[in-house]
């Protein structure tokens, strides 16, 4: 397993290197002047020129890339042209908000998706199955921003049930930063009111983010449950007198979880990219909104950092998924250890 | 008898995998004579299919060589001359996978004709129909069918027709009937025998079914874990098997008549399992299962000796070239 992770790590290092090169390359080839963007409209030509020199923007592409790589080895991702502070500071400030959001929506989608999937798979062709399939079709087909807007319109504007903006009310004092997760931090600090606020605020964005995944996961679970129900070993277990519930929740669930877990890496990717839109709609001060802002601002260093962070996150999630899958599936585990 | 058309000399094929080196074929030598049917018999993991695949050029031998009509053919397919590809053809074991489900039977049969420029465009359809008739499939019914919609036996017939398309002289038949029912197998075997006579073909027939061998081959080569156990003319072999393994094999065969039952050797009863080709036991690879195991068997690998004319065996019991008493 360790060997496998190391080889994955090397592979991902190469991929991240290529990714940064790709972004750098495109950013250099494309028209547009990041210095001008960064300094705004009143800047004099001299100021722009100075700024270019300061950020090495006047150097040829390989030199720029060299400087960037060199500072990366020191753990420095450069300075954001937009916020004018180290990109790492920005990332530290914004990542927890998105993580919290994705985590909550992940839990939502896992619980709801699994339960509906298992039930629909087991009661195949029942009304429940039909209904959940129809809803999941619609869920998959609705882009995240549309879900967010429908939810806003329904939950906030019509029913006035959930707040629509930010992590807390605008005037509220955020809890002391420990983990960066507001809800958790509030609970740790004993500010239960703030925690409740946080929960209320996170509900809509997390739900909007979860919809597509609930639909997807429900569908996959349903299919694999339905498929595995036909397998010889289910017949064999049945014939050997193992009770139905044990077959369903033990012998069927575990192999059926494998495809669901396997796609979680991809699901995470979708959630992350959907967060780009959901955070915009709900004014969620997170990493994704930051990413969109820096992208729109042609903030080269920050764009590269953002893409790399996503790449790393994606890689980590995939490794975790692989480990979980190999835990669930001895076939893969045995293959990997070469035993 | 006529001259040897194919000679395999000390052929070795190892595969390197994560689990270790697989010694699929380990120093195998045998030869096939013009016009005969040579049977290559062994259980799973014995390396018989690897030999077949090496002969047609899917693998390159790790060591040793194979000569076809005196020409060294120990090369992979893309280094082989076209003429050789035309001469040696193979029929694969799995009829389901050997025909492309997305191509019609006509297209499948046309490919070798086109590649080897057997006939011009106008004659090609004729030739395809002739081939189909040769394997007793009415061309009108089958030409435009997809392999998906025909039965396993028919698929194998098409595969045989395809193999015969460029008029080869040597056919490697890799378990052509193992996936089929006996009644279909009978049909195909009959067809093959007939074609062999009509077209003067030489067969290397690979199978795990000894009873089948008994009925169609001139000579048999028995393999165990990548090595040869015994080589003998068929009649001689069945009447007088030498190697304990071949005896075990024969005694394990389910039979349908008392005559057959009486025919089987009685002294060797099957036990143990075939070792993994990654972990071949030291000495004689069969010694763990052998009822006549001797002390030497676990230490030294026996060599092949000719005990009687044309009857070779690789067993310490026969190390002095004579039958044990």
């Amino acid at each position: 397993m360790a060997k496998y992770i190391i080889s994955r790590l090397l592979q991902s290092l190469f991929v991240l290197f290529g990714l940064s090169l790709l972004i750098f390359f495109i950013a250099r080839v494309m028209p547009g002047d990041p210095a001008r963007v960064a300094l705004g409209s009143l800047a004099t030509h001299e100021q722009v020129q100075n700024f270019r020199e300061e950020m090495h923007l006047d150097k040829p592409f390989p030199v720029q890339y060299y400087f960037w790589l060199r500072s990366l080895l020191r753990g420095d991702l450069g300075k954001s042209l937009y916020t004018r502070r180290p990109v790492t500071t920005d990332l530290k400030a914004y990542i927890p908000a998105t993580l919290e959001l994705i985590l909550i929506s992940f839990i939502m989608s896992l619980v709801i998706g699994q339960v509906t999937g298992v039930l629909a798979g087991y009661f195949r062709n029942s009304w429940f199955d039909g209904l959940s399939r129809l809803i999941s079709y619609i869920g998959v087909a609705t882009p995240a921003f549309a879900v967010a807007i429908f939810f806003l319109l329904f939950f906030t504007y019509t029913l006035n049930l959930a707040p629509a903006v930010g992590r807390l009310s605008l005037a509220a004092v955020p809890p002391p930063r420990i983990t960066g997760f507001f809800i958790l931090d509030s609970v740790i600090a004993g500010k239960f009111g703030t925690a409740l606020e946080g929960l209320k605020h996170i509900f809509l964005p997390a739900a909007s983010l979860a919809v597509a995944n609930i639909a997807q996961e429900g569908r996959i679970t349903r299919t694999s449950i339905a498929e595995n129900l036909q397998k010889d070993y289910v017949i064999a277990h049945t014939v050997y007198g193992i009770p139905r519930w044990s077959i369903l929740f033990k012998y069927l669930l575990r192999p059926s979880l494998i495809p669901t877990v396997s796609v979680m890496g991809l699901a995470f990717a979708y959630q992350l990219s959907n967060a780009f839109l959901v955070e915009l709609v709900f004014m969620w001060p997170g990493f994704s909104r930051y990413a969109v802002t820096v992208m729109l601002n042609k903030d080269l260093n920050a764009i590269v950092a953002v893409v790399l962070v996503i790449g790393v996150a994606f890689f980590l999630v995939n490794v975790i998924v692989d480990i979980v899958v190999s835990f669930l599936d001895p076939r893969i585990r045995l293959q990997r250890t070469g035993g | 008898m006529s001259e040897e058309i194919l000679t395999v000399e000390n052929l070795k094929k190892y595969f390197v995998t994560k689990q270790g080196t697989v010694r699929a074929v380990d120093k195998v030598s045998f030869s096939v004579k013009q016009g005969e049917t040579c049977g290559l018999v062994g259980e799973s993991g014995s390396g018989k299919t690897t030999i077949a695949h090496t002969l047609v050029g899917i693998y390159e031998p790790t060591e040793g060589r194979a000569l076809f009509k005196g020409q060294n053919i120990s090369k992979v397919f893309n280094q082989r001359p076209k003429a050789l590809k035309k001469e040696i053809r193979i029929v694969f074991q799995d009829p389901g996978s050997s025909l492309n489900p997305r191509r019609s039977i006509k297209q499948i049969l046309e490919l070798p004709l086109k590649v080897h420029r057997i006939c011009n465009d106008s004659d090609r359809v004729e030739r395809v129909m002739e081939l189909l008739r040769m394997v007793e499939l009415p061309p009108e019914d089958y030409m435009y069918k997809s392999p998906q919609v025909i039965g396993g036996g028919e698929k194998q017939m098409v595969a045989i027709a395809r193999a015969l398309a460029p008029n080869p002289s040597f056919l490697v038949l890799d378990e052509p009937t193992s996936a089929l029912d006996v009644s279909v197998q009978a049909k195909i075997i009959n067809l093959l025998m007939q074609l062999q006579q009509n077209l003067n073909l030489t067969y290397l027939f690979i199978t795990h079914d000894l009873s089948l061998m008994r009925n169609i081959t001139n000579r048999v080569v028995i393999m165990y874990l990548g090595k040869i156990s015994e080589v003998a003319p068929t009649v001689e072999f069945f009447q007088n098997p030498f190697h304990p393994y071949t005896k075990m094999l024969l005694s394990s065969i389910p039979t349908v008549s008392d005559e057959e039952e009486n025919f089987k050797p009685k002294e060797v009863i099957s036990r143990g399992e075939i070792a993994s080709p990654v972990n071949v036991p030291s000495g004689c690879s069969f010694h763990l299962r052998c009822p006549q195991k001797m002390e030497i068997c676990s230490r030294a690998d026996p060599t092949v000796v000719e005990v009687e004319a044309d009857h070779l065996v690789r067993c310490h019991l026969f190390s002095d070239g004579r039958k044990p008493t």
């Binding site: 070993y233 050997y240 | 009644s183 394990s252 025919f263 099957s270």
Partner: protein
């Protein structure tokens, strides 16, 4: 001999795009208490469907049991409630399947699966619950019974770590751990090498003899069935065509299909091989009327096209029955 299982005129159909496949076309079969019965037929003749019907594990839809009765000790399985069927499965009926790899759950260890099988089948008897230790000991014991080497280590292995022969031994242990009264073995050795096949069959027959179970051995191989059974059914295209004591059948096959089949088998004695049976098995969508074998039969008579032959007694024994008009006296 009291009949343990009696199948009467079983009819099973499958719905597919083109219509309904009439797969089982009135299957009749009797298995006596402690009897060893063979069922031989070529691919696609309905052997597995028959077994699955008896076990009540046929996927419905697409399958549909459209007629007949399956009597187990006189009670119709087809009319039983789920609870009754469950109790049947615990210790009364069991089965071994063709592909042991598919029949074992790939993500649980052998020990885990065996553990549950033993736990639940032993629980039904009203006996006191076995402890973990006892179950483990029994697991090892049943594995040993099947001739499994190193059975303790095997318990912690996953099915893919085992060879084909070992997997089948595990399946046999599972099937027999409940001391089944009727064991249905559906092509238990098809994917195995001959030497292993011989071992498994030997082991199986010993176990069955020891437990005094009845066995239904299903195979496409006449040889396999001949060596292990007392009575043989020959099945063709969803019908039983011939049944006889094993000895009688192999000595004196009566049905043209049985005859042809027997001739197709290559023999060790080297008598050459017949030309097989012409044609192919019928399409179940529109099976031939009358005797389903008649289009391939060399002895076809006008009546064969019209009427399905009933069992006629043939040969020397009363037990030798043939569904062929040639044997009508």
């Amino acid at each position: 001999m009291t009949p343990l299982l009696e199948i009467k005129n079983l009819q099973v159909r499958f719905k597919i795009y083109e219509g309904e496949l009439k797969v089982l076309n009135g299957v009749d079969m009797v298995i006596g208490e402690g009897e060893k019965v063979g069922l031989v037929g070529e691919t696609g003749c309905g052997k597995t469907t028959t077994v699955k019907s008896v076990l009540r594990v046929l996927p419905t839809p697409p399958a549909r049991i459209s007629g007949g009765e399956i009597l187990y000790r006189g009670k119709d399985i087809l009319k039983m409630k789920p609870a009754q069927i469950r109790s049947l499965r615990k210790g009364e009926m069991s089965a071994i399947f063709q592909d042991p790899l598919a029949a074992l759950n790939p993500v649980f260890t052998v020990g885990h699966q065996l553990y549950d099988v033993i736990k639940y089948s032993s629980a039904s008897r009203g006996r006191k619950r076995l402890s973990k230790k006892e179950i483990r000991a029994r697991s090892i014991a049943v594995l040993k019974e099947t001739g499994m080497p190193d059975s303790e280590r095997i318990l912690s292995n996953y099915p893919i770590q085992l060879s084909g022969g070992m997997r089948q031994r595990v399946c046999i242990s599972e099937a027999l751990s409940a001391s089944a009264r009727l064991l249905m073995a559906d092509e238990p050795t098809t994917n195995l090498d001959v030497t292993i096949q011989a071992q498994i069959l030997r082991q199986l027959s010993e176990l069955v003899a020891k437990k005094k179970s009845s066995i239904l051995l299903i195979s496409h191989s006449l040889g396999v069935v001949r060596n292990l059974t007392e009575r043989v059914y020959i099945m063709y295209a969803g019908n039983m065509v011939e049944v006889a004591r094993t000895k009688d059948l192999f000595a004196d096959p009566l049905h043209p299909y049985t005859k042809a089949l027997l001739k197709s088998v290559p023999k060790l004695t080297g008598e050459g091989i017949s030309r097989g049976i012409r044609g192919r098995i019928p399409n179940y969508l529109n099976p031939p009327a009358g005797c389903r074998f008649h289009p391939r039969c060399d002895h076809m008579m006008p009546i064969c096209e019209k009427e399905r032959p009933a069992f006629f007694t043939g040969g020397d024994s009363d037990n030798h029955k043939v569904a062929c008009f040639l044997c009508r006296r």
